[in-house]
Symmetry: C2
Subunit: 246 residues, 2 copies
């Protein structure tokens, strides 16, 4: 902890803009940053990154890569514990819906990160970089992890990021591909049917293979260890093929 | 830590096979398991999992999902720190080569996990499940994480798993798509050329778009923030298109 105390002492030497940044980070993360330079780097989008003499561009992309992995691990555990009776297919799907770019963009706005980013860009046009908020949020997660360690970072993610997810909303759409397809078919006045093609494997390890038919024509196929899961899988594929939004 | 001490006391009541398993886990992980049931679950491949009365199948797949995420985070940080001057594209590519199924299968054999799995299968045929070793390794990582927390699990991954990776070998193939292509062209007596099609963006944020030509014909294209990276990207795509193995 000695190094971190030393780093904290640095705050005495902050200039005005560093003081403002440190206070904004404290507000967002929940605690004063130990090493402010990590957060400065996290805010350095590649479009405003300067090139060093040897042609290296110092941007937040490496921190984004790290933050993405840490965020993925924390969200994985969060879902693992929240849904003790759901299978890994459901967990994987829900996780990828939670950490997608658009969802992270929204959360960056909610926790005030967007305001900090806009200051860094000093009035430059941000609209060319659609995913800048979400990318930077991941980089900030990486910075928090390096600055404060896993346990602190996990708390930050749980209390300040995940809390903004509409997990129930995400789950409803994750689990209901089949009902989505049926709802669509009723609206479009089409007939949807499932046909089991084959059941392979032994008593313990079965695999069902089904077709999803719309008006008698095969639209998608699906596989799974139970008939229900295979139909869900086929419905999910059909939703993608038919471009059904959620 | 009280719960963990209580769980440790359980070991007094282990039966013979549990004693053997606990000792094998200790040997592999580097410390006695607190909660042996987590490791038992980690070894429960879906093909030997039993169904409960309400149709739920208790297998290691959920733990595998969790372990995959934790392993991903630890490997991400390992590479982040090992290569302070490489960009996120290189880090992402190297990571995915490290945690792929085949690499994990090999490591499961090296650390003796395969022997434990074979005991669990009690002579049943394992050959139908190609990736069982790697899958189970991920599940074991998930079990170690839940049993002992992030810091312990990170040490386990660094000292007992990553140590077996031929990181340098992986990197050579990751970084050298361009030299691979050139080497191939010399062997095949063909002429390889790169052509820059366009450079878009402003001074700070450029994107190069290049074509890779073999004997005058376009084989692949690539993009990147520098000419070198765009050529590397095109070479990588060409390696895939031309089925050049590493």
């Amino acid at each position: 902890m000695r190094l971190s105390r030393l780093l904290r002492l640095q705050s005495v030497f902050y200039n005005q803009s560093e003081k403002r940044l440190a206070s904004a980070i404290q507000h967002m993360v929940g605690s004063k940053p130990f090493n402010l330079s990590l957060y400065k780097l996290a805010l350095k989008h590649t479009s405003i990154a300067e090139e060093t003499i040897n042609g290296l561009k110092i941007s937040n992309e490496r921190l984004e890569y790290l933050g993405d992995a840490i965020l993925g691990a924390v969200v994985a555990e969060f879902l693992f514990k929240k849904f003790p009776f759901r299978d890994e297919g459901f967990l994987t799907e829900t996780r990828s819906r939670m950490v997608n770019r658009e969802a992270l963009n929204q959360i960056a706005i909610k926790i005030g990160l967007s305001k900090i980013i806009e200051k860094e860009f000093k009035g430059k046009n941000l609209s060319a970089h659609k995913s800048i908020y979400g990318d930077t949020l991941e980089a900030v997660v990486g910075a928090v992890y390096l600055d404060r360690g896993y346990d602190f970072c996990k708390k930050f993610i749980l209390k300040r990021i995940i809390v903004h997810f509409d997990v129930d909303g995400i789950i409803t759409t994750t689990s209901n591909f089949k009902s989505k397809i049926i709802e669509w078919s009723q609206k479009e006045n089409k007939e949807v049917d499932f046909k089991t093609l084959s059941v392979t494997g032994n008593q313990r390890f079965k695999e069902f293979h089904v077709h999803l038919l719309v008006g008698g024509e095969v639209v998608a196929e699906g596989k799974g260890p139970t008939k229900k899961k295979a139909e869900q899988d086929a419905s999910k594929n059909a939703c993608e093929i038919l471009n059904l939004d959620f």
